[in-house]
Amino acid sequence: MIWRSVDLRRTALRTLLQLQLNMAASTFCPVLLPLSRINCKLNGIYTLILLNKTAAYSTGLSVKKTGAKTGLPQRGGKELRRQIKQVLQPRTERMAVDQDWTAVYPTAASFKADAVPLPVRMGYPVKKGVPPSKKGNLELLKIPNFLHLTPNAIKKQCEALKPFCTEWPAALDSDEKCEKHFPIQVQKKDYVFAGPSLRHPDARIVTLTVKLSSLNLDDHARKKMIKLSGERYNKDTDTLTITADSCPLKQQNHDYAMYMLTVLYHESWKIEAWEKEKTRADMEEYVWEDSPSQKNILETLLRIRPLSEQQEEGEVREELLGREEVQEYKDSVTKLKNEGETEGNMQQYKEAVKKLLSI
């Protein structure tokens, strides 16, 4: 039973190859798809299967035209047998070394062992053996291949894409210039993935960053803005970060972030009535004027050189405060209080005190 079907297949193959070769010789077009509709007198199913297989590509073989159009192959045709043998061999045997690979794999396609002339081996090796060869290797089929993206192919495709690109303006060559002209930065994210839906929930998030030094703020406005932003302000980099994610669409979140920035700005410029009641405890940084340190130093200096009756206390105060040593002392104390205790700060304080008390 099996023997008979093989025999039938072989004869069917011979006939159809003859047909195909004749067709290829007589017409110039390499497209052989219409062949599938030819009514063959042989076993129906087998013929169709074989036609699909052989019609995948043109053989490009030169064939001698036989006299009969749809005649049966001649018995013992050496030429025909050789041609059939060539077609049954894998395509890799007939590939030239300098062929155009982009024609073999123009688009993404699965790995075809008969079309890739590389001795690839993939898979876990058998005991005391080697990884299985490429013929019928499922591992090579499963993994995505980049055979359609060789360096040549990438170059060709990029050459074709180049006309659609635009150049970066030459005036914005450094980071500082970009920051100077475009201080507000908005960060948005897009996602490409496979899933039941195209939408990614995090795609709506918009992050706005701006440096406060680039905004038009005076001292009071800057301090108020920092207080209003709270956690969103980074002292080290002087950046305010506003993240908007409450709206469902990206554009809405972008608008909301811009609105938040505008509101913060205008609110920080306003001076409310209750802001007059700001105490020393609310101050962001240490201020030397009217501090216990100032009072102490004035008292000490007055004790060193007691007040004579002609001079008034107010004048003496002004004069003392205006002195260089007092100014130095003031700087060192402010530094200590604001920046914390470091070697340099302590040294500076020591020198200032020594100078002041003329030790």
């Binding site: 993206l149 006309p163 690109c165 930065q185 908005v186 994210k189 897009d190 496979a194 905004l215």
Partner: protein, 148 residues
Amino acid sequence: MCWIIFFFKLITVIEEPDTLFQTLTVLVKGHDKAVLDSYEFLASMAAKELGLTLAKVSEPPKNIERLTLLKSVHIFKKHRVQYEMRTHFRCIEISKVTGSTAQVYLEYIQRNLPEGMAMEVTKTPFIYMRSFSNSDVSVFHMLKPDSV
């Protein structure tokens, strides 16, 4: 048979100003490191061919998600089986791109994204004075006069 070739305009130039991106970060995720390596080669070569500046190509550390399940359907609590899912990353950062070039590059990259890989693109565009969104125009009065 003679072939008639039709010429048609592929490129149209619009009056609208091109967006400018300060940075364009492409983060690719996958389960196979070899595929990620090949994709990185593709992305960096494409960037070079199109004339883009590759600021950084880095490999963030992989993320392994492990779970322990019972080996058997019923009882045998002491015998379990462990699975893990490894996600490898690759980060490609491109600085100073125009909108058109970014669109071309991203489309090329995304069309050649292999199966089983995901991508996250972070864009940082510059906000223009001449932008068409009302919210953007309102922001510019807040900036210092010498900056814009």
